[in-house]
């Protein structure tokens, strides 16, 4: 990685980045094709609507039950993991999490960390922090590996390299991987990645992974994956560090099967992933492999803010399947990079403001047509459209004392608020409305012929010369 490493920008360049994607037919085709593929795969997994709806209801109740007991369960998880020999660390901020992880690496004089797919590690920009500390951090999920080679960031939480064509990846491998000639055969490309990374699994001092579910009653970390790199990272190196947000916890092991079924079917349309890896302790006496040390880093980073408000708490029900982005008409058109945040798409719009503050994310919730598709497909029934409305309110209402969110009122504009207040007054009062429409029909010639983005591809808006109410009155 070099100084060209991309940093997550606050959402201020959102408009420009979106436009760049919308203007790029290749990228649009990539996203459109990939989203159509993922949507049809998911639909094929849920042929029975009753089964789907009852399973979603169960998934929602499991997540809400566990969130309601969150602090108690975190303590129970910590006790049981510690009893099993897994060391638990707590971090309020990304910096604290990085310091904990790099501290463990430095204690072992580690040179190389291999990473399984972990969006939380993206959230804290661990690769960058590791690089600064002189520790190599290598992504081993094929998609993440490709994205890292290209000095980019994932554009989708499940399929990180979804924005790249195989030809681009072929050129990337030929340029960046030693001794590799150009091939756009997908099997050959995967074998190139396999061979490079196998050597790294063998050499690595540290394996890092995320967590899909942490089970409090047994003290178990569960990981969902298809490639086997997650198992490699958690088994081959002498130390395994797992990192997760504090919300990914379930009390009972029996809560796992319904959530796992919802996750894999919603995410990639698989009835189950190739591997479901349950880790409950480091290597025990007599066992011949597995890490001798296992650590878990529990990260807050704004989650406790979401937790504090009953409505916003629902954001934390998320199991990170990505179905909301796969079904989002906005995501499909602008892709994952435009958002400028670790988590793109509808889930990104509702979780990022808690992580980055509304100062940096005030416009995110407005990038939605409120079509409701995200809420309809969410396997744990997060009311995403409702939350988007709430976040608009939080971002654009006048700043007030004791706000529910950091950066409340960041998008507030007195002019805009006055305009909407006037609009609301007109629409509430029949008399005012009558006057306003009368003025509109008389002075329609005053409407400008250029009306910003609207007129770039459409004819200008102009009030009709005669009002509907006048025409109706004439007809009696």
């Amino acid at each position: 990685m070099s100084e060209h490493t991309l940093h997550f920008k606050p959402a201020e360049g959102f408009r420009a980045r979106s436009k760049a994607v919308v203007d790029n037919p290749f990228l649009r085709q990539s996203f459109r094709g990939a989203m159509d593929f993922l949507m049809s795969k998911r639909a094929a997994q849920f042929p029975d609507t009753e089964e789907l709806e009852s399973l979603r209801t169960l998934g929602e109740s499991i997540r809400q039950y566990n969130l309601a007991k969150l602090p108690t369960l975190l303590v129970q998880l910590e006790q049981n993991l510690s009893r099993n020999g897994i060391q638990v660390h707590w971090a309020e901020t990304p910096d604290e999490a990085n310091a904990i992880i790099l501290g463990i690496c430095q204690q072992r004089s580690a040179k190389l960390m291999v990473k399984g797919k972990s969006m939380v590690s993206e959230e804290i920009e661990l690769n960058h922090a590791a690089e600064a500390a002189g520790i190599g951090a290598l992504e081993s999920d094929m998609g993440e590996y490709i994205v890292q080679l290209a000095n980019e960031k994932p554009s989708h939480i499940i399929m990180p390299a979804i924005h790249k064509t195989k030809e681009e990846i072929a050129r990337l491998f030929a340029d960046k991987v030693e001794g590799v000639d150009y091939t756009d055969n997908v099997d050959a490309l995967i074998q190139i990645g396999r061979n490079v990374l196998r050597q790294k699994f063998l050499e690595a001092d540290i394996g890092l992974s995320g967590v899909n579910f942490a089970v409090a009653e047994t003290g178990t970390l569960c990981l969902v994956e298809n490639e086997g790199n997650g198992r490699m990272c958690t088994t081959a190196p002498p130390v395994h560090i797992a990192i997760t947000g504090i919300e990914k916890i379930v009390e009972k092991l029996e809560h796992v099967p319904p959530l796992l079924s919802l996750l894999t079917r919603s995410a990639t349309g698989q009835n189950i992933s190739t591997y479901f890896n349950m880790i409950s302790s480091p290597r025990k006496a007599g066992e011949k492999d597995g890490p001798s040390e296992v650590h878990l880093v529990l990260l807050d980073n704004g989650r406790s803010q979401a937790y504090a408000d009953e409505q916003l708490r629902k954001t934390l029900q998320c199991i990170r399947c990505g179905a909301c982005m796969n079904h989002c008409p906005v995501y499909t058109r602008i892709g994952g990079h435009a958002y400028g945040t670790t988590y793109p798409g509808p889930i990104g719009k509702i979780i990022s403001p808690h992580m980055l503050g509304l100062e940096a994310t005030s416009t995110m919730a407005t990038a939605s047509s409120l079509c409701g598709a995200c809420g309809e497909v969410c396997p744990v029934k997060i009311p995403i459209p409702e939350l988007l409305m709430r976040l608009r309110e939080e971002a654009f209402s006048a700043p007030h004392a004791n706000p529910a969110m950091r950066g409340q009122g960041a998008g507030y504009s007195r002019l805009m608020t006055s305009i909407w207040k006037g609009w609301a007054a007109v629409y509430r009062s029949p008399a005012l409305y009558g006057v306003a429409t009368w003025l509109g029909s008389r002075f329609s010639w005053l409407m400008p012929s250029r009306q910003g983005a609207w007129t770039s591809v459409r004819v200008p808006l102009k009030p009709a010369p005669r009002r509907l109410r006048d025409m109706l009155k004439e007809r009696g």
């Binding site: 990939a34 993922l38 009852s54 399973l55 499991i62 039950y65 309601a68 007991k69 602090p71 975190l74 707590w90 309020e92 081993s140 094929m142 998609g143 490709i146 399929m159 990180p160 790249k164 064509t165 195989k166 997908v186 990645g193 196998r198 047994t218 178990t220 298809n226 490639e227 086997g228 790199n229 198992r231 088994t235 081959a236 504090i246 009972k252 092991l253 029996e254 796992v256 099967p257 319904p258 009835n271 189950i272 190739t274 591997y275 479901f276 890896n277 349950m278 880790i279 409950s280 480091p282 007599g286 066992e287 011949k288 492999d289 597995g290 529990l298 406790s304 937790y307 504090a308 009953e310």
Partner: protein
């Protein structure tokens, strides 16, 4: 105050005062998943795991070794990693070397032979603890005899499964075996060979784990 205490106190201050009833997971499975006969479970398991690109071979106690040897020959493999601490591993060790198949054993900690494991171990044989019909899934509990890397690093993984040990669902497996009372260091669900669709949604097998998964499904010899 530590980060731990600050996080917990923030959460405790806003914790809802009432907690909903425990979700009825058992009730959902009872009304939404079928309970099948042993034969039907075996069929469903096989159909599902084959869809995920695994091979399934029906074997009996008297012919499984011959079948395994034949498959090794067909695949051009002359070396296999087995456990000397299991009956099936010992059976392989008793017969295969004389028939020209080299047998490796996992008899020391991985640190002593990691490079050989990664670079010169083409195949392995482990047992499965059980299986799940609904999703075509093998359940493995790696232990000192058959450690974790045995089912991950070798490019071809052979699994011996007793067809009597197939559950209808993952939920049924964990309930019947009392997993909530304690899990081993590592427990695994495996539902096919390693795969990825990370390049342009094109499915490719053999990403990082085994390229091939071969299930030897053991049923009783005909009387």
């Amino acid at each position: 105050m530590s980060a731990r205490d600050r996080i917990l106190s923030k959460l405790r201050a806003k914790m809802p005062s009432t907690v909903a009833d425990l979700p009825d997971v058992a009730g959902w499975f009872a009304t939404h998943r079928i309970v099948e006969s042993a034969a039907d479970k075996a069929k469903r398991f096989q159909a599902c795991i084959e869809l995920a690109h695994a091979e399934v071979h029906a074997v009996t106690p008297s012919n499984w070794l011959t079948t395994l040897r034949e498959i090794l020959r067909t695949k051009g493999l002359d070396k296999i990693l087995v456990s000397e601490e299991t009956t099936h591993g010992s059976a392989v060790l008793d017969e295969f070397p004389a028939q020209g198949i080299d047998c490796q054993v996992y008899d020391m900690a991985i640190e002593a032979w990691k490079t050989e494991m990664f670079n010169a171990t083409p195949a392995s044989l482990t047992a499965a603890r059980a299986a799940i019909a609904e999703t075509g899934t093998l359940i493995l509990w790696p232990d000192a005899a058959e450690p974790r890397l045995m089912s991950l690093v070798p490019p071809v993984h052979f699994v011996l499964l007793d067809a009597n040990n197939i559950y209808n669902t993952f939920f049924e497996a964990m309930q019947a075996e009392g997993w909530a009372d304690g899990l081993p260091t590592n427990s695994l669900l495996i539902s096919g060979p390693s795969k990825t669709a990370d390049i342009q949604q094109t499915l490719a097998y053999g990403a990082h784990g085994p390229k091939e998964l071969v299930v030897l499904m053991l049923t009783e010899d005909a009387q």
